[in-house]
Point group: C2
Chain length 389, copies 2
């Protein structure tokens, strides 16, 4: 099998280890931690072409390419990362990682707990915040020798990390791309997260989070959590076009097996997710979402919070996204404008709701490409090299 | 204790019994059934002032007044029913009932099953449709000696029953009031119902619906179902105003106990509901919602379905209702206009989302009062009596 010419092809994740204790916002300390990292493209000599990619709720470090020739699907944002793609690996060195608290190789609830005979942390893994994550990203930057990121990019919860980066380490990034995100969750956002959490917490197979030690798994809870989440990722219009009121067998069955196609789809999504995701991680991720609020230490003023940012911003929203609606992106844009910060904002006409951020919508992809300016970077380098030679 | 002068005061429900077999849309037959009914006001001599009230998902026959002097809360629509209120019991005879499949006295899953030694029906109770309900309403009308209703009124799922009445028994109602409703569920509506159902069905305490026989109860499932439902009843704006990001203890606790006020509210609503509602009934009600589609036998044309209606219509929607948005009400209005049917439509500016239909919003209440025209009825009667005497 050969990969498409615009694919990054076979990739191998690498683990970075941090042996110093990490004090978290919750007050607890991780004695050590590891980050699972994947990179695409080549870091240039002056380390100025690195782009950090932050992942969303169920994301991870595997953003592009394939882990083996047998892989059926590439990484989660393969549509935008590769040679000649919007995030062009001919020009950029892309770093994608799995956050701590995750379940894809970085230290999290399924990792060994050194304070408990290396049994899995399970529910004893501390709750982490977006700010904690950004701190670990900065530590990773140090270990990789990247003083300043060419850009930090993220969608949804990933966009929150990018935003927090611009506040916490203003001199360590040149560009910040915040896609389909929000400056903090609304009451409705929190409410949906709470239903997802209660689905897991109230599952008898959850065992207070010690399901692994009990040789158990809260499959039902995780399925429900994902089903309710999934509804909020799709627009009403997309659901209508995709399923409408179509019946699986063409007629009403008057029972509780699948009748409508949309039921079939939701159950499938829930089932699949429950086989690949850790329940404690799901709880941690939803809590990180709830806690996120960079304005909290600035008298609830986002404008104050973003006052010292130094990078250029691109903010992107999608018209049918009702999880984080365009109005939420505008809050970020307005805070930047009030501060006279350089910001480009685009509200993309898209049908897929919140999930739009994963699709290669032409205007969206081209805007991302233009904002990152890989060609310009190349020309600049060539010019510099020309001068030097 | 005395009741307010505009309260219907103490009321006593009454059971109506139907001994003939009822064939349902699903093909199954109920050998007999009972309807729990409450009435307010006085039926006039020519039986021309009767208003039928149809209830929503979790509603029942107790719509106004009190069952005892110790009752803390009146019936669910007490704000609109009583002497001098929008549905004025000085003029009208109001009939409110609990639908079959319900759990408040009418034949349903907790009723004795004559085919099984009078054990509770449980999951053996057949799935019923809005059309089935309307048929039982017509049988009730016959038994009460009401040939023609002055008006049939309902909100949400109740509005669907009112709409179906106008299609199935066009000559048996003069007015039809359809509030915060829709001509059929969208894929997103069905998706939310499916999450609620799966919450109940996957609860180990559900026991395939035989929880009563197993001395059990799917409390957790019902709590989750109600939590997710409740989010869809409130507008995002109402949630923001009511809870925002307020914290219960004023600071982050970094745990899974209640942190945000909105979590506390949702859990309370879920808990309370789970103590007063039957899980099998909840499943039946959500299925009735999913199945509702009066256009189904008319080539999916609502216009064709409503062609033979003979009554006057009032359709009311609420600006922030995202469960059944104003656009869904407009579908009904447009079908009526295309048919040259008399319809008044009002989209009420209200903050409470879908729940708005339960609130005594002045413009809404006054519109309802004006459309029903109780004063005119009284004047008409007085004039007639004058002529007769």
């Amino acid at each position: 099998m050969s990969f498409a010419s615009d694919s990054v092809g076979l990739v191998t994740p690498k683990k970075y280890t941090f042996e110093e204790p990490l004090e978290l916002e919750c007050g607890r300390v991780l004695p050590r931690f590891e980050l699972m990292v994947e990179t695409y493209g080549t870091l240039n000599a002056d380390r100025s072409n690195a782009i950090l990619l932050c992942h969303a709720l169920s994301g991870h470090h595997h953003a592009a390419g394939y882990h083996s020739e047998d892989d059926k699907k590439p990484g989660w944002w393969d549509a935008c990362i590769g040679p000649g793609k919007a995030i062009d690996t001919n020009h950029f060195f892309v770093v994608a990682l799995n956050n701590i608290g995750g379940c894809h190789g970085s230290t999290g609830p399924i990792s060994p707990n050194p304070d408990n005979n290396n049994m899995p942390y399970g529910p004893d893994f501390p709750l982490v915040t977006v700010r904690d994550w950004v701190r670990t990203h900065a530590m990773l930057s140090d270990q990789m020798g990247i003083q300043k990121w060419y850009a930090i990019v993220g969608g949804s919860l990933g966009g929150m990390q990018a935003l927090q980066w611009s506040v916490d380490y203003p001199d360590r990034l040149e560009r910040c791309v915040i896609i389909a995100s929000a400056p903090k969750l609304s009451a409705q956002n929190i409410a949906f997260n709470e239903v997802a959490r209660q689905s897991i917490l109230s599952d008898p197979d959850f065992h207070d989070g010690y399901y692994l030690a009990n040789d158990s798994y809260p499959r039902r809870g995780l399925i429900l959590a994902r089903m309710v989440g999934h509804i909020t990722y799709l627009s009403e219009e997309a659901m209508k076009q995709k399923f409408g009121r179509d019946l699986k067998s063409g007629k009403f069955m008057y029972g509780f097996d699948v009748e409508f196609q949309v039921e079939s789809y939701l159950r499938y999504q829930g089932e699949r997710f429950s086989q690949n995701f850790d329940a404690n991680t799901y709880l941690i991720m939803t809590k990180a979402l709830d806690y996120f609020d960079p304005s909290r230490e600035f008298n609830s003023s986002l404008t104050e919070a973003m006052k010292n940012t130094q990078c250029r911003f691109l903010v992107v929203s999608f018209t049918t996204d009702w999880r984080f609606s365009p109005e939420r992106s505008e809050e970020i844009v307005n805070a930047l404008i009030t501060n006279n910060k350089p910001v480009s904002y685009l509200d993309i006409n898209a049908k897929q709701g919140h999930d739009s951020f994963l699709f290669p919508i032409p205007l969206y992809v081209n805007t991302l490409r233009a904002f990152l300016g890989g060609e310009a970077l190349l020309n600049e380098k060539t010019a510099q090299q020309g001068e030097i030679s």
